[in-house]
Symmetry: C2
Subunit: 240 residues, 2 copies
């Protein structure tokens, strides 16, 4: 297909496709005698993956290019790739900052991970983000949030179970069968990584919906004059 058809089928504009070709995010098409390039289904798929990583996951164009290149390079272990995705992903979502209180909370967080039997994250970025958030909670005198860390960890395990279930199901369908044949493993690997990115977006949106609903109910209870059903309190959220 020509670039215009590729744009129509992928939903990505022609100028953007040309930009992706220029930076090597999309493999070149097959050049014809008329000095035109022809594209196929593999290009449609590449653009759909790019949409997931860039538009939904928030990865930079260059990080996405490096990720897709690494996936298609044999010899790179999946575990290293997944770690690299997480590291590339995190800074686009959060920025941390130093501080003494961060160092103070680290031992408690290491103990939390150990208590749940989690291996410690390789790069330390994740633990740092967690320590940043807990340190900020401490400086703002929110001991309630720090006290809830175990509850948050249980919820996080629940989230991860969803990811693992989807990854397992994908591998069951796309992975090599007992005959060791089957589709390209790079396809499975990029599908699993894209599923993790999409699962995160799905969870973020559903969490937002569930939280909005829960907060509305809580505010409703406060507005009705009862905070926990026993006390008769004015809503702390209504400004009069």
């Amino acid at each position: 297909m020509r670039i215009s058809e590729l744009a129509r089928r992928s939903g990505v504009s022609v100028p953007t496709i040309k930009y992706y070709l220029r930076v090597g995010l999309l493999t070149a098409g097959r050049t014809t005698a008329h000095n035109q390039a022809l594209y196929d289904d593999s290009h449609v798929r590449q653009l759909r993956l790019v949409h997931v990583f860039v538009d939904i996951g928030g990865l930079s164009v260059m990080a996405t290019r490096d990720l897709l290149t690494a996936i298609n390079r044999s010899g790179v272990s999946a575990e290293r790739l997944l770690g690299a995705v997480d590291a590339a992903w995190a800074p686009t979502r959060r920025r941390g900052s130093g501080g003494e209180s961060r160092d103070e909370v680290r031992p408690a967080l290491t103990a939390l991970a150990a208590g749940r039997g989690w291996r410690m994250p390789r790069d330390g970025h994740t633990l740092q983000r967690l320590a940043d958030a807990c340190a900020a909670a401490r400086t703002l005198d929110m001991k309630e949030l720090c006290d809830a860390l175990d509850a948050y960890a249980k919820a996080a395990e629940h989230m991860a179970e969803c990811d693992i279930a989807v990854a397992t199901a994908l591998a069951g369908r796309l992975g090599p069968g007992p005959d060791r044949a089957g589709p390209d493993r790079a396809v499975l690997l990029e599908t699993v990584i894209a599923a993790i990115v999409l699962g995160d977006a799905v969870l973020a949106a559903l969490h937002s919906m569930a939280r909005e609903d829960g907060l509305a109910r809580l505010l409703g209870r406060w507005a009705a004059g009862s905070c926990d059903g026993d006390r008769d309190e004015e809503s702390p959220f209504t400004f009069t």
Copy 2:
């Protein structure tokens, strides 16, 4: 205290504090005879809140200014404020894109929310993000992810329960007591909103840790030659 002491206590640099003063994110200090400004604990607290919203939550400086202004303006309902935070927050985390498949998945998502008894989000942004992710999953032939929506929704409810528990505990401590006295309600409101932002960061980090651990175990099982304990499969993730 002088600006240098404010910088030391808040961990924010003097040039950044001056920038925040210029754009109205930080209230002005008390000017002295020597043409200097003096700051107090309220400024330290403001800078700590700014750190949460800007550095950890990823809100823009202007959105944070508008949020803090709205919190301190009486007459703005907490529910509207929380909705505004969510809307201001979302675009910094994800960008969506149009597409026909997005419209196709909408009814299923609306049914999902209704099935769980959630009120529909007011602004539609959240539902759109969810629809974007599901549409992308469909175009990449990941039915496993779409099939897991109910499981993701349960995990999201679990996440929201943590938020609501923390908000309830904070309101119980900071909210007005039976004597209707107690600290400023704006303090409670900004604390609850900051706690939600921090809770999200905590969940993201813990989710990342739990997922990394879960994926490592899954890869380990595959590497050991058994996908689900029954089949003897080569790891689909190992490139040879």
